[in-house]
């Protein structure tokens, strides 16, 4: 019942606006800007990227099988978004794994209720031209197998809290990256610029990326961090951020700790910033690859996301596993006596 309401209101309203806007959308702004737009400046003369941004998208990282073009038409893009939004609002079937969840729409968390930049691309990956991740190198494949075996040796996901992912443990999420990619919801950021620094506050998990832009060297190679070591510089009106010094624990799409990530932040109009990143990791992929996603201006402020403090779900998950262990141990303990009573 209510999903029809959603289609007629949310999609009819928000997405109809997207349809209108999509005709003059980001892809055109990127390739052939119809009108000159000047990037505003901070008082000290830097391109001004400050403000609140949101990178919610319906576009997948890799181009879906069966799609053989770089861009949808505006009409196709709107149909794709409508269908994805309908799928997201769709009610799941009771008794299925997918149904064990709260309803996103009841909490305003479905993507159709987020600011959405127009994007006609069929994949976030723009290079290689087929929109797919390049093939893994032999070393990349070996590492993938080794990581899978290490996970197996560590036991099941509920055998130890360390076996839960970094995001479940509220340590690092994909919105933070880098590279910074949207999750299901709360894809909000605030950029603040000060002399020598750019700070990007990530709402989820409320972590600031503090990026020096004063020309200093990267951290020494022996110092590795989950988010790597980032250094920025201006290339015209584009903020370029190089990040190295990753750890083996982050592994973006299977990357190694030697990944060199280059992010480029370019404002293309008053409402849109183009975020493009290039992953260079010869020990994992046979060639570098790049992706881009438009960020849309959003309304602030950001709100606190004290994930760890309120992470009852992690406790409940482990408590549920221990309760299951206890039930199985009791069943196993009672089994021998049953066997003895058997004729």
């Amino acid at each position: 019942m209510f999903h029809r309401f959603l289609l007629s209101t949310v999609l009819g309203g928000v997405l109809a606006a997207a349809l209108v806007a999509a005709g003059g959308g980001v892809s055109q702004a990127q390739t052939s800007p119809a009108k000159k737009w000047t990037v505003p400046r901070t008082p000290d003369g830097q391109p001004d990227l400050q403000g609140f941004w949101n990178n919610t998208t319906y576009t997948p990282l890799q181009r879906p099988n069966g799609v053989n073009k770089e861009y949808y038409t505006a009409e196709e893009a709107v149909e794709m978004i409508k269908r994805a939004a309908a799928d997201e609002a769709e009610q799941t079937v009771p008794g299925t794994v997918e149904d064990v969840h709260y309803d996103f729409t009841q909490f305003g968390l479905d993507r159709s209720q987020a600011p959405l930049a127009q994007n006609l691309r069929t994949s976030l990956i723009v290079d290689p031209a087929d929109g797919k991740l390049p093939p893994l190198t032999e070393e990349g494949r070996r590492r993938q197998r080794a990581r899978a075996e290490a996970r197996k040796r560590a036991g099941g996901p509920t055998d130890a809290v360390q076996n839960q992912s970094l995001s479940v443990r509220c340590i690092l999420m994909d919105r933070n990256g880098p590279p910074m990619l949207a999750g299901a919801y709360n894809n909000n950021y605030q950029i603040v610029q000060a002399p020598g620094y750019v700070m990007i506050l990530v709402e989820m998990l409320h972590g600031p990326r503090i990026i020096p832009i004063d020309g200093r060297a990267q951290l020494p190679p022996a110092i590795r961090q989950l988010e790597g070591s980032s250094r920025g510089r201006w290339d015209g009106d584009t903020l370029v951020v190089e990040t190295t010094n990753f750890t083996d624990a982050t592994g973006f799409q299977g990357s190694s700790e030697n990944m060199r990530l280059t992010e480029r932040f370019t404002r293309v109009d008053a409402e849109t910033m183009l975020y493009r990143f290039t992953v260079d990791d010869p020990s994992t992929w046979t060639r570098p690859w790049s992706a881009e996603v438009p960020w849309r201006k959003a309304v602030g402020p950001l709100f606190e996301h004290a994930c760890h403090e309120g992470n009852y779900g992690l406790y409940n998950t482990l408590a549920g596993a221990r309760a299951q262990d206890k039930r199985e141990a009791e069943a196993s303990a009672s089994k021998p006596s049953n066997e003895r009573s058997d004729p």
């Binding site: 196709e76 794709m80 064990v100 968390l109």
Partner: protein, 137 residues
């Protein structure tokens, strides 16, 4: 109520973007798919916390005793952005909640669907049904 919606899309083959991970942890690891439940109770407290909010609901049993339950809902940040506050839902509001009980057997559940006693579905989101201030209890 929970029907499957099949969008009828005309035109060229347009593949739907894969939905991102629906939440930051596997809810089926926290809650038991074999323990669906339906509760009726009154709201005592709403913890608007992250990563997920929690509704404290008092459930009155047939013998008159009151049993407290904790019901998990969504992250509150988008709701706060849309103007929802901890005062938006009046304490004492009666809810009918369908969901699944926690795997550890305690009185916790995920709230699959929140309904008011008069049958309206709880929608706190900005552009969702029932989201306007006038529709809120």
């Amino acid at each position: 109520m929970r029907t499957t919606f099949a969008a009828a899309i005309a035109g060229a083959a347009i593949l739907v973007a894969a939905a991102p991970t629906r939440a930051h942890h596997a809810f089926s690891a926290e809650f038991d798919i074999s323990k669906p439940l339906k509760l009726q109770g009154t709201l005592r407290k709403w913890e608007m916390i992250n990563p997920h909010s929690w509704f404290h609901v008092d459930v009155k049993m047939p013998d008159g005793t009151v049993v407290p339950w904790l019901i998990e809902g969504g992250s509150p940040n988008q709701l706060i952005r849309l103007g929802v506050t901890k005062n938006t839902l009046t304490m004492g509001t009666e809810f009918i909640i369908e969901g699944y009980q926690a795997r550890d057997g305690t009185n916790k559940a995920v709230g699959r669907n929140f309904q008011f006693a008069d049958g309206r579905t709880l929608f706190l989101g900005g552009s969702a049904p029932g989201a306007t201030g006038a529709d809120k209890p």
